[in-house]
Symmetry: C2
Subunit: 240 residues, 2 copies
């Protein structure tokens, strides 16, 4: 399509002949860090107008401007899939957000469970992390990272039409699968390192929208379980 | 099965009534770091005799001893699956080794490709990392980490009976799948961050043992691709 390697997520509208101003941070990244200059080409996306090849027309220290040349990808929103996960240590939480974006989800919901270590998250930091992952992996939409909520509260208001995939490590080899599952809005819920409590497990199992699967005979860390569950869902019901 | 949480990989034979001496490092870990003492219970495995519940009978600063009480898991070797991957940055290489063990492989082969950044690896460090991951995830066998070899050389001596799963990001949506694949010895090959070179891609495609699959429309990092490919293989042909 083009030899432009750098992808940048911007706020500004993108379209034929459209000029796009850069923020100070973006200008610093493109011209200071990546050493681009006038005439350099970059790929832009904004979550609404697909991906555009753009050319630098003004490269300053505190700002700059790009001109859109041509659309290189239509808007390709990820499937309507949410990932619910219990935040773990910082590096692994970042990792789960990065992987969720690469694998393709629409919304990332950090949830507090009975055995969750974290009491709070830095939502803005995780959202920035999701944006970087989208720039890296070629996505045209950045998934939204929601605020930390209690799992109980999320389940209280669970949408009637959204199915839920529950990966229960205590049911290894139970032979559940996604084979008969139907498309539509879905969510995947991944437990914390210590697993779900008995109460949580019971509540999840009682949800009529729930499908249970098993992720093999070994105990997976949360981050591994997230990628594995997303793989099974994407290859069966998603956009793979 | 038991409330013992700590799992330790040892060299010594395990069996009914068997005493197991500890190395200095193991004694330091159990008694210094984890604060166990005489009477504490630990799970042991050695890659040959399954998993055993054992009780500390001697807790010293420089050594100690455990007595095997009962077998808690038979030996469960992972499927005969190799993972070939191009080492990337240190943290992501460690991560790929950890994930390979959790997902269940028999052998981990770091390979040098045309676009590989690393010229060497610390095999002993990666092997220690694989051991820790096995202790963590409940595996009874630690996969072997091989020395770094050139991909070309590995393919020169490729076993006639070992099938190879090749995840090619340049063929997004090509509709290949593992659906018709047969069981037996397998390997998965994951490219470096920069992808395979055209020569490598052509050589892999010409291998008669080769099956090609696609991992979705977004570009996955090597570590994500490894977990995703292992998930598809395990859920179709493996022990999940």
């Amino acid at each position: 399509m083009s030899d432009a390697k750098i992808r940048l997520c911007v706020e500004h509208p993108l379209g034929s002949g459209q000029s796009v101003p850069l923020t100070r941070d973006q200008a610093h990244y493109l011209f200071g860090v990546m050493r681009l200059g006038e005439g350099s080409r970059v790929l832009l996306f904004n979550g609404r107008d697909g991906e555009w090849l753009a050319e630098v027309t003004d490269a300053g220290k505190r700002g700059g401007e790009l001109d859109c040349l041509e659309q290189t990808q239509p808007l390709r929103p990820p499937p309507d899939l949410w990932l619910l996960f219990a935040p773990v240590k910082k590096a692994r939480t970042d990792f789960i957000v990065e992987k969720a974006v690469e694998m393709g989800v629409a919304r990332i919901l950090p949830v507090q469970t009975d055995y969750t270590n974290s009491e709070r998250i830095r939502r803005d930091r995780l959202q920035a992390h999701a944006k970087e992952a989208a720039e890296q992996c070629g996505a045209t939409v950045v998934p939204e990272v929601a605020d930390l909520q209690k799992l109980d509260q999320v389940l209280d208001g669970w949408p009637a039409d959204r199915q839920l995939l529950f990966c229960d490590e205590t049911r290894a080899g139970a032979g559940d699968s996604l084979a008969g599952a139907t498309q539509g809005p879905w969510a995947i819920v991944i437990g914390p390192e210590g697993g779900f409590s008995d109460n949580e497990r019971e509540r999840l199992r009682k949800l009529p929208q729930m499908t249970q699967i098993c992720l093999g005979p070994r105990i997976l860390r949360s981050d591994t379980a997230a990628v594995a569950a997303l793989t099974l869902w994407q290859s069966t019901l998603g956009d793979w």
